[in-house]
Symmetry: C2
Subunit: 249 residues, 2 copies
């Protein structure tokens, strides 16, 4: 099969692999701002479960889902500290709400695209489009934070989150404004209509020691819309947002 002068195919394979590896290492260094040590971790961070599922369920620990679990936790801690220091006079509920607006799926997907992670994520090409439309990139971003944590430690992961994600791309002020918006918009509308707004709140314990709150917007004592959340504020916020939609405001 081999013509004279043609390199042995195995060598070609390794050369291609090494070249790819060098390019990947370089891409990671550009994204995280430092040279990765254990490159395997970063490969794992960008391996969507759809790629691994082809190889059967036993291989699922070779996808990025476990790293995503870890990275989500590290990201949560870093953002918690950032907000804790930035808002020394705000209460726990405010910090919780604001953090959830920074680390929610939509926000993480946006951040992942901004730092170009979509070019690094490996999907099963067969179901690529369906999978990509959801939260693939945001999950890969969480997994990347987990990989940096394991590879370089907490300080490096913290620095990545603060200097490459939060500070360049998160406009905390406008997040606070939109947080306040739904409830105040609803109240202003009701005042113009000469109606009253009140929230009916209930809380239910959920497994894992979590409380879940449900808030129902009452317009002149008639229920309009209900929102749920892990804090009263979150539940009311969502209820107000839905009430505005239901009322066509």
């Amino acid at each position: 099969m081999l013509r004279p002068g043609q390199p042995l195919p195995l060598f070609g394979f390794f050369r291609r692999l090494l070249g790819q590896d060098r390019a990947f290492r370089q891409a990671i260094a550009t994204v995280i701002g430092r040279t990765p040590d254990n490159v395997r971790l970063y490969h794992l961070a960008f391996t969507h479960s759809s790629v691994v599922r082809q190889q059967g369920d036993t291989a699922r620990h070779q996808s990025n889902e476990r790293l995503e679990f870890l990275g989500d936790a590290v990201l949560g801690a870093v953002v918690a500290e950032y907000l804790f220091r930035k808002f020394p006079y705000e209460q726990e509920g405010f910090l919780t709400e604001l953090r959830s607006r920074i680390v929610n799926r939509e926000s993480l997907n946006g951040l992942a695209l901004k730092i170009g992670l979509d070019k690094l994520v490996q999907l099963d090409p067969a179901q690529g489009r369906a999978a990509r439309s959801r939260s693939v990139n945001g999950n890969a971003l969480e997994a990347l934070v987990g990989a940096i944590y394991l590879d370089q430690g907490y300080k490096a992961a913290r620095k990545f989150v603060l200097t490459r994600l939060i500070k360049p791309f998160i406009d905390v002020k406008s997040l606070i404004e939109t947080t306040a918006n739904f409830k105040s918009k609803l109240i202003e509308w009701a005042q113009r209509q000469g109606k009253t707004i009140r929230y009916d709140l209930t809380g239910q314990p959920r497994s894992g020691g979590v409380m879940e709150f449900s808030a129902t917007v009452m317009l002149d004592d008639e229920p309009v819309a209900t929102g749920m959340g892990l804090s009263k504020k979150q539940a009311e916020q969502l209820a107000a947002e839905r009430a505005l939609a239901a009322l066509g405001v």
Copy 2:
């Protein structure tokens, strides 16, 4: 009012304060296994909001609630890493479920008592008993983790969590067993009765980018009990637990 020889009251006040401070510093050192640097942080960690509320709502940032927010996040990250390393072949759902069993209210309250935090927590004496019956000690433990993180850094907080809480007091194996118990107990019971068990699962997106799952236990296609949770496993587990109660098993 002063008799000769009696020390000036102001001196007595300061001396008492300094003595208390030395004792407090010593108590913290015993609990966390190292000398605290910024003692104010630890005072804050043990100040329940009931003490501060007497001073009006503007002082609420002087209670431990904000530190609790931070400590909860740091604790979550440390436990995530611990489980990630301990169970290299388990999937995300398993790790999430197990973590929630380690850091839930009940578990944290128990850990707090084991390391003697109840003796350090400051409550409003007027409503002491009511407040103490709930999650005061567990919250103080989270706040303490937050204080260590700010005072001594992530590594020290991690070491405290691992060497003073998890390793001495958490029996991961038995946690896993009780996790598996409800579902298998229900299935065994159904088999003895010649009936079939199946779970109807639905998922709903919640604000903050979280999915909440609802699982209904179907006994021969009749709904018996429903559980909710932030993972499918958690929802099924709770549903099974409730079904066992409803069926009187």
